[in-house]
């Protein structure tokens, strides 16, 4: 992981530096442009999923999810998703490295700012910052083995599988010397909160054909269309990829309050006040009666 992390970080750095030269909105060419895909596309653009169109891969994923939607209710406390599947192949199991599986689940990306505190006139204040155009609010990677051993960095770059690569596009100008500690901090902070996760060895593969992964979605979910990706790997190379959406929506009271707050803010605000005043008055009266009794 250490080595991969360093590679990823240096790429982040190149991307950031190049972006600073060209200004926002440009796609940054790679140091090895022959790979032919944008490393840090503009945050406004959808991520282009590279699809192997040249030939049908010899091994293909067939997969299912235990659920394709998650309802956020008032008592929502996280959710467990079982991702299972099999490998479809016309030929016998190839010799050599065993089949490996990587499963990623990611939340919609949001723009964010990473701040760094510095000591100025004796006090610690936010001084420098890096804007990240799009970082997923939640990102989990489950693998069947140590990620460093089973995934080639070139393929990691291409499919953006590992955590640091899941962060995209530094928005605007980068005006710090080195963005690496910033992205590291983002990954570290979100890993501490359980929002970014790498579960190595949690995908179970049976006879190089069947696999299953249990991914736990935390309680602090945001709404949106989540994306599940399943990668088949052999000898570090991605053989096939499977995409499945998961829809995360608020329901019932949660949905009603949320919509009211955004569609009718005045009514919502007055309702909040009414609740507050009623509760305050109610308690005052209740205690008066209690004291008399």
């Amino acid at each position: 992981m250490r080595g991969l992390f360093a590679v990823a970080m240096s790429l982040c750095l190149c991307g950031g530096a190049a972006l600073a030269q060209q200004g926002a909105g440009s796609t940054v060419p790679l140091e090895s442009a022959d790979q032919g895909y944008p490393l840090y596309p503009h945050p406004g653009l959808a991520r282009v999923e590279p699809i192997e169109t040249r030939h049908t891969p010899p091994e293909q994923v067939v997969a299912g999810l235990s659920r394709d939607s998650v309802a956020i209710t008032a008592s929502f406390d996280g959710s467990e998703i079982l991702i299972y599947g099999a490998v479809k192949r016309e030929t016998p199991i190839p010799e050599g490295d065993p089949l490996q599986v990587v499963v990623t689940v990611e939340a919609p990306a949001q723009p964010l700012t990473i701040w760094r505190k510095d000591r100025k006139v004796g006090i610690w204040i936010n001084s420098e910052s890096v804007d990240v155009g799009a970082a997923p609010g939640f990102y989990a990677v489950a693998t069947s083995g140590p990620l460093d051993d089973i995934l080639d960095p070139a393929f990691d770059n291409r499919y953006r599988i590992s955590l640091p690569l899941a962060l995209r596009a530094f928005g605007g100008e980068v005006n710090v010397d080195d963005v690496v500690p910033y992205t590291e901090a983002l990954v570290r902070l979100r890993t501490q909160n359980g929002l970014y996760r790498l579960d190595e060895g949690s995908v179970k593969v049976v006879d190089q054909t069947l696999f299953r992964a249990d991914v736990r979605l935390p309680a602090n979910l945001i709404e949106g269309n989540y994306k599940t990706r399943i990668f088949l790997l052999r000898g570090g190379e991605v053989v096939d990829m499977y995409l499945a959406p998961i829809e995360v929506r608020k329901v019932g009271l949660e949905r009603w309050l949320y919509r009211l707050a955004f569609d009718q803010p005045l009514i919502y605000g007055l309702m909040s006040l009414l609740v507050a005043v009623a509760a305050g008055w109610g308690a005052s009266e209740a205690f008066r009666k209690l004291r008399r009794a």
Partner: protein
């Protein structure tokens, strides 16, 4: 029992929140402070996004101050006329403060300014109150000392004088108006009701008797925080009603217990307690500013 908050989009323990509300409500009833200066940092601490913590904190303060002010109205310890003048200033100040807050947010220095404001004001007020109440306590043991009703300062002799009967004052309306504006500005920037500044300001700057200070301050806080809540709900959609209800349930009960308790304690003791509390919060915040933080980096979500 975990509960998912629809606006904050985080899942929290319902009992933790109710307990938090209760604690802050107790302070509110006891000292006549809204408790915002405690609730807002506590909400940050349990992982509520700052903007939502500020707005919802204001909503919770409305409930606990309504509960407290009603108890004071029954005991006739609210100076409505003074409250009205302070309120007029407070609304203007609050509006100005929200405008400043927006600018600070854009340059990413909200946390710093908020913390600095807390340290400076809490430190000054805490020290002033502690010294004054210790002196008062010493005097009360020495019955030969007779205190003047209140000190007249030159600002009190400005034009447009008004009689504040409940407070026993006949002073210009400008000093209370200015106190109102100043508290309003600070309240909006710091995301609090401003009681912890208002109470000492009323005692030391306006010379109001301690008896009516708490009730009058709660009266003003109720309206200023209601205004703030509404403004946050309309312009930023950051009031989380689910979070507010949980805090309120604890808060209103705490406020009632606090008011009852406050009637039994002596004013000087009450003031020493509040002074110590204020200094405690101040010390904690000052340490955060001057010591090297464990985590230098922080994340703020959203477009800048």
């Amino acid at each position: 029992m975990q509960i998912y908050l629809p606006i904050a989009e985080v899942s929290v323990n319902a009992f933790t929140l109710t307990g938090l509300g209760g604690l802050v409500g107790l302070m509110s009833g006891l000292f006549g402070v809204g408790g915002g200066f405690l609730i807002t940092p506590l909400l940050f601490f349990i992982g509520i996004p700052p903007a939502i913590a500020v707005a919802t904190g204001a909503n919770q303060v409305v409930a606990s101050s309504v509960s407290g002010v009603l108890a004071h109205v029954k005991r006739k310890t609210v100076d409505f006329r003074m409250g009205g003048v302070l309120l007029a200033g407070g609304l203007v100040g609050s509006w100005m403060g929200v405008w400043v807050f927006t600018i600070l947010q854009e340059v990413g220095q909200v946390d710093l300014v908020v913390q600095l404001c807390y340290v400076v004001f809490l430190g000054l007020i805490g020290a002033m109150m502690l010294q004054e109440s210790l002196r008062a306590l010493r005097r009360s043991k020495n019955p030969t000392y007779r205190k003047r009703l209140h000190q007249h300062m030159w600002v009190h002799r400005w034009p447009v004088k008004m009689k504040f009967r409940s407070s026993g004052l006949y002073i210009s309306i400008f000093p209370p108006l200015m106190v109102g504006v100043a508290v309003g500005v600070l309240a909006a920037i710091m995301g609090v009701g401003g009681g912890f500044i208002m109470v000492p300001a009323m005692i030391y700057l306006l010379g109001m008797p301690t008896k009516v200070v708490v009730g009058t301050s709660l009266f003003q806080i109720t309206f200023v925080t209601a205004f703030t809540t509404l403004m946050h709900a309309i312009s930023y959609n950051t009031v989380d009603i689910m979070l507010a209800v949980l805090l309120i349930v604890g808060g209103v009960i705490g406020a009632q217990i606090g008011t009852t308790l406050g009637a039994k304690l002596r004013a000087e003791q009450l003031r020493i307690l509040l002074a110590l509390l204020v200094l405690l919060v101040c010390g904690k915040l000052a340490l955060d500013l001057f010591l090297r933080p464990d985590e230098l980096y922080s994340i703020s979500v959203g477009e800048r």
